[in-house]
Structure formats: C-alpha cells, structure tokens
Subunit: 740 residues, 2 copies
C-alpha cells in the first residue's frame, strides 16, 4: 500500500491528473475522480458545490498567496489567513482532480512550498495562553486543523509533484509538523479529548499520504511513555491524562462515544470532533480497508452521525448542551462531511439525503458524488426525528440524554456524565423547544467563538462563573451551591442514573432519572413527560422533581424563559433598585427583578414570546418564594445575555417535591392583532399521593377533565404489577408509571 | 340613485342574486359580480381568497350564531365574538354574491335579525373606561367598525330581503345604531381623529345602502351644533374639539393628511384609518360618483396609500412612529384593501401588483378582481422604495418625515407635528434599519393590542410614562425634561421645520431640520446623511445634532441599539446594583448598567446583533459622560421590553454639537463561526469648523482617506454659492451642503 512513493517523475507529472500514479487515494480516490468527471454537469447539487468552490478558490488565487508570520488569536488576521489557506489547500486540490486544470495544482504546490520555506525556522506561536501552543496558530489544535486539510491537498497533487519536491515537503514541512503536534506536545496529542482527535487525525492522514506506517501507528495508538504528569490540566480545567493511559485515534473513538453514538462532550463538540473522526476514518477505509474502521465498536462512528442529527431541533440547530454555541447546526461544513460520508459508508440511508438537500451542498469527493446521485435519482426521504434516548459513557453506563418529541414540541433531558472539560454542572436539567424555537432555554456557553474583540474569541471568564454553574440551568440547586461543588474533579467521577423511559405510548412520552452524588446526602429524582391530550391545543410537559435529603436545605428551581410576563396569579413586588440574588456559584450574575410569596395550591405564570403564549402551572405552598430574575449582574464586559428567569424557592425543607405543567399555547400576530388561545387550559395541578414508593399527580383542565399520572419511585423492572388506592380510587398498572 | 328602495318583494327574493334589483352597489357591484362569476376558477389569487373566506365562513356557520350580551374589553370573549361577527356579515354577504348560494344570505340575515332583536334594549357597554362607550363594544370606535362591515353585508343581501324585513332592520338596528355613534356620541363622532373617521364612514356606508341622504350628509359634514366643550379630552389626552370646528368625513380627509398623503398620527394609525377612508371612498365613488371623492384634495387618498407603503421597511413592516405597534405591516387586511382599491381607482400602477402578490390575497370585490386579473396577466412590477420626504400638516407646512434609503440601509427622520393624541415627544428623532431589521430603534408604543391580560389590550400606563417621553427616542433631551414639557397642549401647537433635503446625489442622501419650540430658548438643528463610500462595505450614517441655547443645560443623547456590547475605546465601570437614571419624564424607567467618562476626540462603541456588527463613532470631550442604560426600571407589571441604550451626556453646556458616524458592518454566522469585517472602518470623526454659518466634519477611514461634509446652518435657497477656508483648504459649493 505504501510502495509506490518513488516514481519516474517526468512521465508522472505529465499524466498526473489522468490515469497513472497511486494518488489521490485518501478521500477523493482515482475511481471517484473518474466517475465524477463522467457525471459532472449532470449532478446539480454536486455541480453547484464545484461552482461555489471554484469561485472561492479563483478569488483567493487572484489575491495571491499570503503566509504571514503568525501572531494573532482567532479572529485576528494571521489566524484567519492561515485558516483560509488550509481550506484552499484542500479545495484547490480537489478542483485540480475534478476539473483537471493544472493551475489549481500549481496553487497548492506554491502554497505548500511557501509553508515549507517558513516552517523550519518558525518558533512557537507568540501568544502564550494555550497549554499547547502551535506554530501557525496560538494552539496546536489549529495547527492540527491545518494538517488535516493540507494532507488532503497534498494527496490531490501528490502525483503532480516530482519525487524531490515531495521529499522536500515531507522532510521540511509535513514530518516536522506531525512531530511538533505529537511528540513535542504530548499534553495535547496524547489525550482522550476532541483536541487530540484532531491531532491524531492530522498525523494519521499525512502518514497515509506519505505511506509512513510508523507515523500511522502513532496516530492510531498515541505516543508511548509520554511522560505527562497525572495531575496536569488544560486551559479548560480538564485533566490531560486519561485514567487507563490509553491514547491515539482508536482510544478517542472508544472513550468519548457511547455505544449509541452519543459523544460525552455534547453535540456542539461532537459536531466539531466529527470532522476528524469521519475524514480520517474515511481515509483509513480507503487506504487501509483491512482495519474495518467503520465497523469499529459496532459501527459507532456511523451511529454517532445519527445521534448527532437527532440532537438537533426542528431547524437543525444542535441542542446547546454543555459548552455549546447556539445556532450551530447541521448546516455546518462538518455535518456536510458527516452526512455525505455516513451515506456512502453506511447503508445509503435515504433519510440522510433529505438533510443533504437542505444543506444544499456536498463534498467534492466520492461521498459527495454518491449523495448527489442519490438526490438526482429522487430516493431522498424525510429525516424523521422521534423521541430518542442516548446512553453516555464508553460502555453506555454513565447516564444519558433523552429527547421527548411530540408534534412541534421537544423536551431535552440531560442525565449524563460530566462531559469532560466542556461539561456543565447541570444534572437532571432540561430545555424545551417548539418548532425549533427555544421555549425554556439551556444558556449554552459564554463565548463569542472567533470574535476577536470578545476575549480573543475564546472562552470568557463568565463561562466558568455563570454558564457552567447549576443555577444557569433548569434544574435544582441546593443551598446556592452548584452540583459537585462546581468541581470538575468530583463531577467527572459521577453520572446520573436512568430510572426508565417509554416512548411507545401515543399519549405520553416519559423519561425518569435520578442523581445521588451532586449533593451528598440528597437524592434528586426527576421525571419528565410530554403529554398529548385532545383537550389541549399542543402537547404539554409534566415535570416532577422529587428531592429527598438527610438534612434541611434551601432548594432553588429556575425556569429560564424568553420574552415578556403576561399574567401571574400571585402577589409580587418589584424593587426600585436591582441587586444580585447571591454572591457566588453563578448567583452573583442574577439580578432580582421581582419577588413574591407563592400560593397554597398552584402558582401560575404566563409569558409571551415570538408570537406564542406559554404557561407554567406549579404546585406550591404559601411558604415558597418566587423570584423574577435577570441574567447580567457582575458582568463588567457585557459578556452575558440579559435574559429572564422565573425561580421557585423552597426554604428549610428536607424533602421537597416540585411539580409543574408547562403549556405552550395559542398565538399572537402583530399583523392581524389577534390573540388566539392566550390563556392556560390547566385548572389545577395537584399532588394526590406521595411517598417513597409512588408519586401521583392529578391534572385538571378548565373543562374539569382530570388526568392522573403516577410514577414509581423505586427501581422497577417494567413488568411488575402495581396497585394503589388514592382517595378511594384504585389504580392498577404494570410497569414504571400509570397515566390515564 | 336612492329611488329603488321598494320593490315587489316576492319576485325580488327569487331573482335576488341574478339580475334584478339595485344592490349590491356599495363595494362589490352588480357589474363586478357578473364579471367575477365569469372569471371565477381562472384567477388564482382571487380563487384562493374565495376559498379561504369560504372555509372561514363555513366553519363559523357550523358553530352557529352567537351574539352575547356585551361585557368584555378587547381580547375578552364578547368583544372578540362581536368582532368576528361583523367580519362574517361582510364575508358571508360577499360569498352569497360570488357563489350565488343562498345559505350565506340566510346566515347574514339571521345574524342581522339577532342583532336587531337585542339592539333596541341594549344599554351602553358596562365597561366605563372609554370617553365614548359603545353598546356592542366598550368604545364607540368598535361599534363603528361593526357598522362599516355590517353595511357591506346588508348591501349584499339587500335584494334578498323583503321590504318589511329591510324596514325592520333599518328602523330597529341600523338607524338607531347610526344615531347612537353620531348624535348620541358627538364627542366621538364630531372630531378630526381616526375614531371619527370610522364613525363617519359607518354612518355614511349604511346611509348609502339605505339611500338616506340626510344621514349621508351627517357622514360627510358631521353634526352641526354638537355642544361639545372646547376643553374636553379623550382617553388618550387629545382634544375632542377641532380648532376650526370642522367635522365629518371630508374634514377628516382634509385635516390629518398632508398634500403628500402623510397621515399626521403616523403609519400605524394611518394603516388603521385607511380602511374606513378607502372603503367609504370606494362606496361613495360607486354610489355617488359625482362627488369625485378620489380626486378630493388633489387625490390625497390615493397618495396616502403610496405614502403608507413607503413608510414601511424592507420587510413591509411600518416604521413605528408615535404610538405604533411593531410588526404591523402591509400584510395587514387594511393594506390589502388599500392596495386593491388604490390599484383599481388609481392609474392601475403595476408596482402595486407586486405588493398584492406578496400579500397573496385580494378583496372579494371589483377591486380584488382587477388586481387578480392584473397579476394573472403578468404585468406586476417590483415596488421600488426610494428616499422620500413627506410633509406633515393639512397644507404640508408642519414639518414632515423623511426616509433616507441606500442599498439595504434605511434612516427614518421625524421632524413632524405632534401627531394628534397618538404623538410622541420625539422631535428630530430617528431610527435606522438594515434589510428590514432594526439597528437603532424607535420603541413604538407600550401596549399589547388585543391581549386582554395586559391591561385589557389597551394602552398601558407606561405608554405615557415611557414610550411617549423624549428619552425613549434617539433624540436630544435637555435637563431630563421631555420636549414641550411632555404636554400635549403645548406640543400640538408646534412642529419642526425642514431646512432642506437632497436625494439626488448617488453618494449621499441628506435631510436637515430644526426645532425651536421643544425647549424654549434652545434651538435643535439636526442633519442626517446616508453616505455611500467605496471604502466601506455598506452605506454609513452621519448624524449632526447642533444645539444652541441661551442658558446652560445638561444634554442627553441616547441611541437605542439591540444585542450585545462588542468593543469600546473608553473606560467605564458597571455598578454592583442597578439604579434608575432619574426620577421622572421616562428617566425613572432606565436602569444604569454602566457609566464612564468620554475621551477627548472620539468615543467608539461597537455592538453585535442578529448576525451583524455595528459601530458608533462619536465626537466627544473628556467632560462628557457615557451611560449604558437598560429599559425596565419602575415596571411593576413587566410591561416594558428590557432593551439596552447607549447615551452621551454633555454637562453644563450652552451650545453643544453631537457628531456621530454609525456603521453597520460585517457579519457573523454561528454555523460557519466566521466573523467577517467585525471592526469599524472609521479612524476618526472630527469637527473641523463650526459657527452659526457652517458646520464642517472630516471623516477619516482606516486607510487614511478623508471625506468632508459641510452643512450650512442658516437658511439657504439651494442656489447660493458658498466658500469656506478651513485649515488652509478652500471649499466651494452651491446649495445647502458640501460633500467630497
């Protein structure tokens, strides 16, 4: 496989883009090139993608090649220039193969030699913030990005170059580059982390192009004896060293993905990591098919694409779990890669084609061709998102994430592991969506990715002081402390535990999980149901959080909504001046905009946002406090979004039960000025039974109809018979819950 | 014209919808019905509109007729039911004519008789808030809405009814109804106000159907000797009595419209008023063509449609001047009416057809047919919005409103009269838009129209305490007092004065106006320019506000932006607790989120919103204060939107000059995570000359290019020659300004 490195260069060069030679073979293949050239002009989505790439590359070529001396953070000129350069290396390489136009090969060659000329004397990047500084960029991560793309460009012009030219590039640029990001930066390279995945893929891809088996071994299995301190941490506070000491691409494939394909850092980073996972896997599949990389761990890499697509809302935006930037979606280039590769190397799932149609572009290679042909042949089917549950952890035994879906409503429930260094302290938190709009939000990260003027485009200090803290999430906070004391060392040892889920009932989707370690001595048990009821316009959410503790605590329970307060059924006052709710653990970032005492019975809170009404009806007693909060206190650089929250507080309680129904209802149009169904349809929510065995809730609508939901609080197998008498009524059922 | 009231009813009834009889004649005509029936099925947009109406009416008919005893405010059941009823009367009437199906005639008849049965004993509405309570609704205004629509329904089934039936309806329902909203409520009916326009149209339309010339006279000329106190006011604080004592429809057509067709209350209310203006004008044109109503005041009513369409942003949303609810647009039903009628009765302007295409529905009458046929024939042309200036005042001599447009950027500059009772104290204020998005906002009104749970859907108290106040607008505030002390009595006596405008230069659109009465002893002079410069990505705004006063004052100058702070070039602190900026005149509603001292030279402030970057560069000195503000203090019912502001303050100044450049630049996508052109291209803005004759500004970009703008501060004819030497450079020009 690595035998044809040296050839007669003169003859070679002339016939480079026709038939002879061993390259390209990495991503686009010789067979692929042949077929693409045959189909070109008759595959609309592929043709359009070629045209866009051509316009982009032609425009860059007209500007000339610039490889400036590195100095900036992301967002700055030198960073952005080198980033554009590596995209150009890949794209121009592909265009050379597809269009058979030597000018693109020359452009790639010239740029590579310009890098070759600068690289050997290049010091590490002058910005010192990273735990692993790169040379072209401020962090090795970005240098690895460069090499992943540059390898593809090099592969495309490999046969166009002479043996001497190749030797020069490999000796002065590619091998030193690969060594720098691996051997010289083991703290970056030898981890189980998305950074390392990029590093591994970079080293592995250039190894495959060069036919260097030693380097490939380093990519797959990491560096032996890296000498890294077991306590060393990265910039995000994550441990460098993995417990079992495994490293390399295969370890990165093993560890962070659950058997269901859920990536423990969450969908935003999964999206980022998917590119090196998939592109290197495809390269391995092309060059080393005997490794059967797509079958590794029961085909986890293709399952991961499916999981990722399912972790997006109706608009294709990924749920911003952990450090996730809102708005990132399956329209990103990484997901074009993911969808195209998963289509070609999976079972040609026609549902993927409908995503590709929405993306409206394909990769300029064999997988893109396959997708373009599939679309042309009209075999695309809608990608149907159903309620799903994904386990977390290498063996799928560290909690998980569930998405309840019914109609336009989606509920995302997180009972996962810590999520490595990008995890938040948000055990049993949830968020709610309707038609792709956030109804109750997960704040996501505190960062303006690649916007230089906001902290160099990097994580802002408020990511740690606010976004990661428990109070920033729709979950329970005890005594104003974050889960696991907000400590990564503790949080990363634990995970929540699934009680059960059931998505097989047309009228109710339900998931339940518990958490015993977030607050030692306290057990949190949350059950979330999405209920379809003909007396309601839309499915509504039933939210039951049961807290039991061995001591008396204060319990806070926030809901982060959007928009404006419409209606309440309790008395509250608004202060003349706004003060922070607390002093630490994120509480210092919340202003109190209003405070009231709850009712005995139900507190109702309605709000309006973006054309829709929403109502929270929650079981309270007169001792409970209600707070209207707003994010944004202690925010000297205006880094936070000043968004509102509604918070319940139970004081001096040992055990506590938060039971709420959340409705999305009606509509308002400023054009017709009609308010439709603007009031809640819930008359009363009542706890009719509660002990350590069962919790039973009665939900009465405004017509007087009553629905009863009973959940078992002890572990159930799913086959057990239950009988419970409440107020003289006998309820009998099999399994973990009753609903009727 | 009114001669065929009594006919042989038996024969009549049978042939009602075919040929005999005098009706319909009001809006849909007999000739129109004939042509519609002929074309039906071959005019897609009309056919679709019929289908929608049919589905709506059929659904309502299936529910049965309900005419509940009135009790609710807008948003409540009885209000919304009676409102739906009058729409049904009109729509079912039209369907009867178009589809020739008697069931619709019977439905209209049954509903009218149900109203007839209840009306004679109906007391005034139990809600007492209105200065002119209706019977079916809480205010006469809504009763008038009812009659305007019911008249059309009655006209459509007129020939279907027997003479006795007509007599019964007219004697017990229509005449008492018309008398109630006119003679019994002169304080509502006999005004120059959008309320009265509805009242006049209601009375006039039923008069035309019934052939009652006396009533028609009352509609056109109002009630003589109404006995109203000259000092009486309505709920909004507006005077009931007009200065010259004129009333009736023609007075309402004379007074509030300028010769350019600008309606003094602003586009939101113009939109609302347009319906009765146009529908009654069309009725008059059909039944009394000798009145030549569409030629009245040089065709002002059709000019008004054009003005209204031009007072919308790129998405068709009306600029929310004065009390305007954001989001109201030319997609509203009133504008469907306006566009269709203006098309038929104007010169069949093909640009109106493109608006109708966007609206995607037409009126079910002669004008809708004309539009549908025009669209079918493919003669539609894009509606091109250019920079425009509309005078205000009956003779066009009370200031005006200008819209500067270039590319995607729009600047709305208001130097108008008070705008009757819906006016705001916002002399020389402006707002800025890009591709239909607000960049610098006009807050609009403080009201949730028709959302019952927010103050009955009516104006909220914050409309007066915040939305109307000067500090709520992008203009100058002296000593924390609103213009005209925030008093309607004073404000309604004055208006700003245009200095000049010029839209004929490709590189610059400019408008300039002054205001001498807002603060006695102080002159405000504001010049706004929209400048196109090849060194900038988009046109930028130059904003010059010159203040001269006979005393020392504090001057505040806010800019209400959206989104998040990106970058500043001055030192500021953010407080631990948020306090209101002031105690009254709207200042009590602003929290101070940050405070700093300005630089000697330029203060720069960049922000990010919805995918775009914006930068304000403003000339300051070290004594100036900078405030970051947020709306929402003293807001006990959460009625205000918690949106940010950036405010300059000059302390203890007599004369002051605020000079700013506002750029919209670049883009950011959370999908690509690319920040493009995220920094300002302005290096420096400098006042290079300033006296009572000229103000000269130099704008230097980051490449060092300098543009000079000079504006004449004294009245210019436009033909004068000017010469000015600044720092040794001689500038010569003709007219009111220099730019190069």
């Amino acid at each position: 496989m690595f035998s044809c490195k040296i050839q007669n260069e003169t003859s070679y060069k002339k016939e480079a883009a026709t038939h002879l030679g061993s390259h390209p073979k990495l991503i686009i293949t010789k067979a692929g090139v042949e077929q693409i050239r045959k189909e070109l002009g008759h595959i609309p989505i592929f043709d359009a993608s070629v045209q866009i790439a051509k316009e982009e590359v032609d425009a860059e070529m007209a500007l000339g090649i610039d490889t400036p001396i590195p100095k900036d953070f992301s967002g700055g000129y030198t960073h952005e220039r080198h980033k554009r350069n590596f995209f150009m290396l890949e794209k121009a390489g592909l265009l050379y193969q597809i269009l058979n136009d030597e000018k693109y090969a020359k452009y790639v060659k010239d740029m590579l030699f310009q890098y070759e000329a600068m690289y050997k004397d290049l010091p590490v990047h002058p910005q010192t913030r990273s735990y692993a500084r790169g040379k072209l960029f401020w962090q090795c991560l970005n240098d690895s990005n460069w090499l992943v793309y540059a390898s593809q460009g090099y592969d495309c012009i490999y046969d166009y170059l002479s043996a001497e030219e190749r030797a020069q590039l490999e000796n002065n640029l590619f091998r030193p580059f690969a060594d720098f990001i691996s051997i010289e930066n083991p703290q970056f390279y030898n981890r189980v982390h998305n950074h390392s995945t990029w590093g591994n893929a970079a080293v592995g891809m250039i190894a495959l192009v060069m036919g260097d088996d030693d380097l490939l071994h380093r990519a797959l299995y990491g560096i032996e004896n890296d000498g890294i301190d077991a306590d060393a941490k990265d910039n995000d506070g994550g441990y460098i060293k993995n417990e079992d000491g495994k490293a390399g691409f295969l370890a990165n494939l093993e560890e962070p993905f659950s058997p269901d394909g859920y990536y423990t850092e969450g969908p935003y980073y999964q999206r980022y990591a998917m590119y090196p996972f998939l592109i290197f896997s495809e390269a391995l599949n092309n060059v080393k098919p005997e490794l059967k990389i797509f079958e590794h761990k029961n085909g986890v890499i293709l399952k991961a694409v499916n999981a990722l697509l399912n972790l997006s809302d109706a608009d294709g935006d990924f749920f911003p779990l952990n450090d996730g930037q809102k708005g990132m979606s399956y329209y990103s280039k990484e997901l074009v890669t993911a969808v195209d590769i998963a289509y070609l190397h999976g079972l040609k799932n026609p549902e993927l084609l409908s995503i590709a149609e929405k993306q409206n572009r394909v990769l300029l290679d064999d997988s893109g061709l396959a997708v373009a042909l599939g679309i042309k042949e009209g075999v695309a089917k809608p990608f149907e998102k159903k309620s799903v549950n994904f386990s977390d952890g290498p063996q799928g035994k560290q909690g998980g994430v569930a998405v309840l879906r019914d109609g336009d409503v989606e509920v995302v429930f997180k009972y996962a592991a810590q999520g490595l260094s990008h995890g938040h302290y948000d055990k049993l938190s949830f968020s709610m969506y309707e038609t792709g709009e956030e109804i109750l939000q997960d704040y996501g990260l505190a960062r303006f990715v690649n916007i230089e003027q906001k902290g160099g485009g990097n994580y802002l200090k408020e990511n740690k002081t606010w976004a990661k803290q428990s109070i920033a999430h729709n979950t329970l906070i005890q005594n104003e402390e974050s889960h696991f004391q907000g400590k990564y060392d503790i949080g990363s040892q634990h995970h929540s535990v699934l009680n059960f889920y059931d998505f097989n009932n047309d009228r109710i989707k339900v998931v339940s999980a518990h958490e015993t370690n977030a607050y030692p001595g306290t057990v949190l048990n949350r059950t979330m149901a999405l209920i379809r009821d003909a007396n309601f316009e839309k499915p509504y959410v039933l939210d039951i959080m049961a807290v039991t503790s061995n001591q008396t605590n204060q319990y806070d329970f926030p809901y982060y909504y959007f928009g404006q307060v419409m209606e309440t059924n309790f008395e509250y006052t608004t202060p003349e001046i706004l003060k922070p709710l607390g002093t630490k653990n994120g509480y210092q970032h919340l202003f109190v905009e209003g405070h009231g005492k709850a009712n005995n019975g139900n507190v109702k809170f309605s709000w309006y946002h973006a054309g829709r009404f929403h109502t929270l009806t929650t079981v309270t007693n007169a001792q409970d406090d209600i707070y209207f909060t707003r994010i944004g206190a202690h925010d000297p650089d205006f880094n936070l979004r000043k968004e509102p929250g509604f918070m319940l507080r139970k004081n001096e309680a040992k055990d506590a039960l938060f039971v709420s129904v959340i409705e999305s209802h009606g509509s308002y149009s400023p054009v017709s000025e009609n308010a439709v169904n603007s009031h809640s349809h819930i008359a009363e929510v009542k706890v009719i039974y509660n002990d350590n065995q069962y919790t039973a809730i009665a939900i009465k609508d405004i017509q007087g109809n009553i629905k009863t939901f009973i959940v078992c609080n002890s572990k159930v197998s799913g086959k057990e018979q239950h009988e419970l008498v409440i107020n003289g009524d006998t309820f009998q059922w099999t399994g973990a819950y009753y609903f009727n």
